[in-house]
């Protein structure tokens, strides 16, 4: 039995990163995720690691690019406006096939927006916020315990597939405290990093990390290899939770903190005699289409609930592909969907 601690979501991500073997963290302050930097600043020197406060998010992601090129487990974190600034580096690291973990604890946008929780960076995270045909693996925790477990997994996935993995949380998850059960030992994937630029010691050819290929045929081939990797990941790495979907009339599709609100909705609906289930994507990319195939025959309708104007909604509609009606309700700008709002929508669907 490992340690059992009451911790804040942001701090748990930092602690989990260290437990995953991350010894390099580069960041820049922004609410509501700065506790990650505070924790790293305190802890990294004690474990022989590096905490560096960069001059900007742009610099931080490029420091990540450097440390990942050197073969190290490395992380950066930010919140929405800061993640926009990192998009250049994210695209380059994706092109150069570098493994690293990027954390986005989302707040309301667009622009400087606000500091309250939001899920309005779904498109940016899953569809490629930077330029070019690339993806990151995107993991969406729904509890502080899951922030711990998925952070460990994020490093393993990044190393396994030699690509960026994003942890996409929101201000509620980042700021809330819950009990976390830590394992005594973490399952660490030891990936081959013979491609890393560590100095060749006059013993091998020089290694090159680059994302530029001016010959279009070479660049297309490079892209084909990336797409083949993405196809493999979409096949192997979809993750989701199905909660009370067996005999549900309506299945809510929600991730992150909204999925927790949905579980409360399910209780209230049950008291009214309406059977509601929850399909909770844990990987947002790859989107868990397999979950929909499992449950597609059962419900009358799907209801997507998000803290956005309806971004994941598009992936839900693609997965359902016209076989059942798909409804949406959500709040924006840092407002949180309430049980009553979602119940009103459920009653409306039920009455149709």
């Amino acid at each position: 039995m490992g340690e059992r601690l009451l911790m804040k979501g942001n701090e748990v991500i930092a602690e989990a990163a260290i437990r995953a073997g991350c010894r390099h963290y580069f960041g820049y302050p922004i609410t509501p995720q700065t506790e990650i930097a505070h924790y790293m600043a305190k802890k990294m020197p004690k474990v022989g690691g590096v905490f560096l406060q960069a001059e900007s998010e742009v610099a931080a992601i490029n420091m990540v690019y450097g440390a990942a090129s050197a073969g190290k487990r490395v992380m950066t974190s930010s919140s929405s406006p800061g993640i926009s600034l990192k998009q250049e580096g994210i695209s380059y690291a994706s092109g150069a096939r570098l493994p690293a973990v990027v954390v986005n604890i989302m707040r309301g946008g667009p622009g400087l927006g606000g500091i309250q929780p939001s899920q309005s960076d779904y498109f940016q995270a899953t569809k490629g916020g930077g330029h070019g045909d690339y993806h990151m693996i995107v993991l969406a925790p729904s509890s502080v315990q899951e922030m711990y477990e998925l952070t460990i997994d994020a490093f393993n996935l990044a190393d396994t597939y030699r690509m960026l993995t994003m942890i996409l949380g929101d201000g509620i998850l980042g700021q809330m405290m819950e009990v976390v059960n830590f394992r005594d030992e973490e399952p660490i994937v030891q990936a081959d990093k013979s491609w890393a630029t560590t100095g060749h010691g006059m013993k091998r050819e020089h290694n090159i990390i680059t994302s530029i290929h001016l010959d279009p045929a070479v660049l297309e081939q490079w892209n084909r290899e990336l797409q083949e990797k993405y196809r493999l990941i979409a096949e192997k790495e979809q993750r989701y939770e199905l909660y009370r979907c067996e005999d549900a009339e309506i299945i809510i599709v929600a991730y992150g903190s909204v999925a927790r609100i949905a579980k409360n909705v399910i209780k209230v609906a049950e008291e009214e005699g309406i059977k509601v289930g929850l399909l909770r994507p844990i990987t947002l990319w790859p989107f868990p289409t397999k979950a929909f195939e499992q449950v597609i025959d059962k419900p009358r309708a799907f209801l997507t609930v998000e803290m956005s104007s309806g971004q994941m909604l598009e992936d839900v509609m693609l997965a359902v592909n016209g076989r059942k009606p798909v409804y949406f309700t959500g709040r924006m700008g840092g407002m949180i969907p309430q049980v009553d709002d979602i119940m009103a929508k459920i009653r409306e669907i039920k009455a149709n």
Partner: protein, 248 residues
């Protein structure tokens, strides 16, 4: 027969893509000679930037990383903080370092990152075909200052060495030129010393190399060397700005 002049080991034996008369080739050779003479090729990681020298990862025999435009000092910081025993250098042009990458170079320098920067200043953007650079001289004609650089419209050229030498972390700052043999020899000494400063863990070191761009200046290679000597050296004074007497 004794070999008196050869290609440095740290320079790959392939043709370079640079224009005739471009001084990148000289600067590359000087860096490679320094790596050879100091015996550090095997533990060096070089960072190429964006501009004409974007693919010098093909030319340098050490491990190489290609960085986004202007971000080489941040990438170098990530590498050096991961591999403190290694030698890390960036090779950047004036657009890369003094325009889009101003924040990264200033902060790497002020943090005293133990890296070396080779800064190629040819007063113009080469790769994108001759636009005005932050280092373009007053009245110099470029494709984006077709009537000459005017202070009232375009502001003044940035003197990078003078700027960086105000920072405590920048322990070795020197400006050199490659327009004749004597200056090339001086440039070699400065570049080698900059690496030695890093090897001695002293802090951030930078060598600014005044260079030519015959193609975009619209001059022959020989005229370009003369233009550099006549116009650039008077505005960008050669010499050491910090760390002249630094023991390495």
């Amino acid at each position: 027969m004794a070999v008196v002049f050869d290609r440095p080991h740290a320079l790959v034996d392939i043709p370079m893509h640079y224009c005739p008369g471009c001084t990148h080739g000289i600067a590359h050779r000087l860096v490679a000679e320094a790596l050879d003479e100091l015996g550090i090729e095997g533990k060096t990681v070089g960072i190429s930037s964006v501009g004409c020298s974007y693919n010098n990862y093909f030319y340098f025999n050490c491990d190489m990383i290609q960085a986004p435009h202007g971000r080489a000092p941040a990438v170098a910081t990530g590498v050096k903080r991961s591999l403190p025993e290694n030698i890390v250098f960036t090779y950047q042009g004036d657009g890369d370092l003094a325009a889009i990458g101003t924040a990264e170079i200033v902060h790497a320098a002020t943090r005293g990152e133990k890296i070396t920067t080779v800064f190629i200043n040819n007063a113009i953007y080469g790769m994108t075909s001759g636009q005005m650079a932050p280092t373009t001289l007053i009245n110099q004609v470029t494709t984006t200052s077709p009537y000459g650089r005017k202070p009232e419209l375009h502001g003044f050229p940035i003197k990078v060495c003078e700027l960086l030498s105000t920072l405590e972390g920048a322990v070795y700052v020197e400006r050199v030129s490659v327009h004749d043999i004597k200056n090339i020899m001086n440039a070699k000494k400065a570049i080698k010393k900059a690496f030695q400063v890093q090897m001695a863990n002293k802090g951030f070191s930078i060598v600014e190399v005044l260079s030519t761009c015959p193609t975009n200046w619209g001059l022959s290679p020989v005229e370009a060397l003369k233009w550099l000597q006549d116009n650039m050296v008077s505005f960008y004074p050669l010499g050491n700005f910090r760390g002249r007497d630094l023991e390495v």
